[in-house]
């Protein structure tokens, strides 16, 4: 192919709307050739002189057709004056196919894509001929065949033949082209309209969802069977699942590290990794508690067996230390004392929090069972509202209890880490990890047990 200055890549021509029915790529080549010749020989043609048919102009073509068109138009500068913007504008959006640009001099002209012949024809049709004649100067005349030839290569724009050369075939082609372009425009319009309505619908749905969440309506996601604040529950459950996966991976890495008898310096890193990962779950639980304290308390995010032995939304620190039992031997006297003290203080803290929870429950019962119960409404609305407000305040302290329980768990783990050596801590973490995974396995087995 010759070097065309303003010619778009050939593939742009492959857009279906470019083609009259039945065209194929080979004819594009021919078209290019013509243009190339046009380019080369038309000294009077300067790109700058070409009509600006880019989308920015009056010519509001939206499809890729535009670029192609604008790049390709080597209009006779004189055409610029004749094809006034007004005329172009009257075609509306879409392709340049409807009709008929009235040339001041009375002849109809078309803006044909790469239709060198047409241009030449125009040039010849009474306008100032700036010498854009090409080798195919025979086209200068109003030869039917050449017109036809030009039309075949002129995809988007319909070449409206001059009345003089009205040819049946040509007319039919023109009509078909018009029709195709029109249909294309209609399709595009319909598509855009569809997009618009979909966008509106989406915005509506998002708004509804947000409103529903704020009202605490259960959003059916399949993750939680509880009526929670929808999003917060889903988010936590998902994050917990990811955390668990990562946890299991870290534990098996730690196990490999321990059995490989690696040095403390490296083992220390693995241990720290698991500890840091525990910090992560406490962070996630803190967020989850603020989102939905009842979901966290319910333990629905744990397996059934874990849930059964759960305390205030998680594991019992004192229990975990009892499980450690003999697995850590040999321990120094100081370590033994440290672990004993830790077990005792965590037990005491757990008891204190449990008693606080009992007090909370009792006070809630007291509030809800105040004297106005059982009586007909009259004048007790204020009482009712007051009691409800008090009850709400008490419920809010649930979050605080859950938070303290998690803090207790976290601090127990950290203190244990301080008391033990790296190797002992590694073993302890493995013990905890295995215990928890056995509980989870038990849950699965139980759920899958054969029943008769």
């Amino acid at each position: 192919m010759q070097s065309f200055k303003h010619l778009p890549p050939p593939e742009m021509y492959c857009h279906s709307s470019f083609f009259l029915r039945g065209e194929d790529g080979s004819r594009n080549q021919a078209r290019f050739r013509y243009l190339g010749e046009l380019d080369q020989t038309a000294s009077a043609f300067h790109p700058d002189d070409a009509i600006d048919l880019s989308p920015n102009s009056m010519f509001s073509l939206k499809s890729g057709n535009v670029a192609v068109l604008s790049n390709n138009f080597n209009y006779d500068p004189a055409l610029n004056t004749s094809i006034g913007s007004a005329e172009i504008a009257t075609t509306g959006t879409g392709c340049l196919d409807t009709g008929q640009y009235m040339h001041p001099k009375g002849t109809t002209i078309v803006s044909s894509l790469g239709n060198g012949h047409s241009i030449e024809n125009w040039g010849h049709s009474g306008m100032a001929d700036n010498g854009q004649q090409t080798d195919t100067s025979t086209d200068v005349d109003t030869d039917d065949r050449n017109q036809l030839h030009g039309v075949q290569h002129g995809p988007v724009v319909v070449v409206d033949s001059r009345p003089k050369t009205g040819d049946q075939k040509t007319l039919r082609r023109l009509a078909q082209n018009r029709e195709a372009a029109r249909k294309s425009r209609l399709r595009k319009k319909a598509y855009v309209q569809q997009l618009e309505t979909s966008r509106l619908r989406l915005a509506q749905l998002e708004q509804e969802l947000q409103r529903a969440q704020q009202q605490g309506v259960f959003v059916a996601t399949g993750f939680s069977g509880d009526h929670g604040s929808g999003n917060g529950v889903v988010v936590f459950d998902m994050e917990y699942a990811h955390w668990l996966e990562e946890h299991q991976r870290l534990i098996s890495d730690l196990r490999a590290a321990v059995s490989s008898h690696m040095g403390d310096n490296e083992l220390h890193l693995h241990v720290d990794g698991v500890m840091a990962h525990y910090d992560e779950i406490f962070r996630l639980k803190s967020i989850g508690t603020k989102a939905d304290v009842f979901h966290m308390l319910s333990g629905m995010w744990k397996t059934p067996a874990e849930r059964c032995f759960m305390w205030l939304g998680g594991f019992r620190s004192s229990e975990l230390l009892k499980i450690l039992g003999n697995h850590l031997e040999p321990l120094t006297d100081q370590q033994i004392m440290g672990i004993c003290n830790l077990q005792q203080s965590s037990q005491q803290a757990e008891d204190a929090l449990s008693q606080g929870m009992e007090a909370l429950q009792q006070s809630l019962v007291d509030t809800l069972s105040s004297t106005s119960l059982g009586f007909a409404g009259s004048g007790n609305v204020a009482d009712y509202m007051g009691q409800m407000a008090i009850a709400m305040g008490k419920l809010a302290t649930l979050e605080n209890f859950l938070h303290q329980a998690d803090l207790l768990r976290q601090q127990t783990l950290q203190q244990m880490r301080r008391i033990l050596t790296t190797r002992q801590a590694a073993r302890a973490l493995l013990v905890f990890g295995d215990y928890a995974s056995r509980l989870r396995a038990l849950s699965s087995l139980w759920l899958a047990r054969p029943r008769d």
Partner: protein
């Protein structure tokens, strides 16, 4: 308006004039373990149970039963930088903190020595 003599048990006779924070500090230094509380607060109940479980007998000031309780509550909130004033624990006249700090110091083993030092615990 108030008597200088009072039979309010662990309460000092309230004074009309005085910075609430000063009053808090004064009350805190009067006993080995001093807890500022509100009678209906469940977390306060928990912290009381914690000390009792350790064999400590703290002095408790229920702010909702103190005529100057409200301003003391506000002063405590400012002191702690928290939206909840109670429970707050002082040991040996020094501020230990709210439930989280008390529990943390118990777990990391610093609470018992502190109690022994203040004379609230004997071996």
């Amino acid at each position: 308006m108030y008597q200088t003599e009072s039979s309010w048990g662990s309460y000092m006779p309230p004074r009309n004039v005085g910075d609430p924070l000063e009053r808090i500090e004064r009350l805190a230094s009067e006993n080995a373990v001093v807890i500022f509380s509100i009678s209906t607060c469940c977390m306060c109940h928990a912290i009381k149970r914690l000390f009792c479980g350790m064999g400590v007998h703290p002095t408790v000031h229920e702010l909702d039963e103190d005529p100057r309780g409200k301003e003391m509550e506000k002063a405590l909130m400012r002191l702690l930088g928290s939206s909840s004033a109670v429970p707050v624990v002082f040991i040996g006249g020094k501020l230990v903190g709210a439930m989280d700090r008390v529990m943390a110091s118990h777990i990391n083993g610093t609470l018992v020595p502190l109690l022994k030092e203040a004379g609230a615990l004997w071996l």
